[in-house]
Symmetry: C2
Subunit: 300 residues, 2 copies
Amino acid sequence: MPDFGHGRLVVVGVGLIGGSLALALKHAGAMQSVVGVGRDRANLDAARSLGIADRIYGLNEPWTKELAAADLVVLATPVGSMAGLFASIAPALGPKTLITDVGSTKQDVIAAARMHLGAALARFVPGHPIAGSERSGASAASAALFRDRSVVLTPLAETDSDAVNQVAAWWARCGATVHFLDAARHDSILAAVSHLPHVLAYALVADVARRADGAEYLSYAGTGFRDFTRLAASEPAMWRDVCIANAAALRRELTLYRGELERIDALIAQGDSAALLALFERARAAREDWLVRQAEVDRG
Amino acid sequence: MPDFGHGRLVVVGVGLIGGSLALALKHAGAMQSVVGVGRDRANLDAARSLGIADRIYGLNEPWTKELAAADLVVLATPVGSMAGLFASIAPALGPKTLITDVGSTKQDVIAAARMHLGAALARFVPGHPIAGSERSGASAASAALFRDRSVVLTPLAETDSDAVNQVAAWWARCGATVHFLDAARHDSILAAVSHLPHVLAYALVADVARRADGAEYLSYAGTGFRDFTRLAASEPAMWRDVCIANAAALRRELTLYRGELERIDALIAQGDSAALLALFERARAAREDWLVRQAEVDRG
């Protein structure tokens, strides 16, 4: 295994996730130098002054020249921009440069990689860390973001197994637990437990805010509303891309969820106290069980 | 104004809200003795050992004899039980005992009070503190729960203004800001910003958990799912009662919300990136504005 204590990392998109991964790999001694690439100059400057990136490039600058000597390039931008990035990096990659991404959807990113990466496709390890917060930008980055969190890798049939092992090892160095899933299965599961809740949170705020007296309504909203809508503080462009990229699975989830709301509405209309109570109790118990299991996983 | 440093309080339902109100009034020096009444013996014992209640009674014990000398009786049980409680307290109230409640819905509680309180109706000040958490029971109570929080009072045309002023003054002693609303307006607003989000959170957990592979789905849920579904940890019986009590307003909100989801589903189906981005951006901005205004209110 190469000595990655001298490793060179290129991160495209030095936001919460990309920035945190760079920091975590540096702190773990797994990477020595980090090149940060992005669109937003102020964010790049912040990344440099925070020690996330040693050198920074705007996307319109000649950053791809850094790839020839890079051990790893991480794409950490909204998934809608990844096809263009694969096309940009393909001709510039070094012969051993590994490629990964942190996109919230995997089938679309894999399709883009297939279209553009050519022989380097075997060195592409699709990934998705299940971590983050509604905060964004390099200033929100933290070396501890992935500690005790799950990272899902969705390698292709043609992915080189050494590449998979190496990317998994880097994530482990960041404190994450690595899981492997089929990309389609990943997209189905995340549609339900991540993409749908984001849409539901945006929808609730939009629903209340579009009223003429929306501000009065919101003035009576409390901490429950704040927690429930925290996901609506997330980066709109990122989630727009996720909705478009994972449209089929997300729309299936929206249909199931609307069905659940119709069932509850019918119970309220019928005044069916017992069934309503049973549904709320089942939901509370399921969430409680989930939290207990998560705590067990965290304790290792 | 009577010297409430010697005040006697009876709290029916010594849970998070009732227990916190008792603690806050004691700490503020506004009440000297507290009688705690409830269904659950272990919770009552906890309330006594935590200093919330000085004397405790099960609901099947002769607690109403404490009302003759009480300055205030607070009903802090699920709203579905309030009609029965009004009927129980009406014959036992002292001539100056004030009555209030902390129910999340107001029109149904007022209707129950009208039916049972007789002449004491003028001394009933309907109330709803917009505070709480998903935790419940006396052990979760805190004297600080209402600090910088809103309390809505919805007095009737026949409510004695001295009673309103006194109940408002007590809430102010707990650190809360008192607002006045018409009961129907209260129920409409809270349906949107509180009751609906609770239903949406229960619905999401139920929707995922009912699947044969629900546990696998949940194993990939992260902190966003946890925050979004925190409301589904709330007391099921309390929220069942709210749904039944405020059925009309809540069902109107469910219809509006399902309409919002249909609009978003259509945008995803059409791949309308621009409209989806605009919707997410509007929602994020509205939430941001709300948080800024809330912070201004908190700073006073």
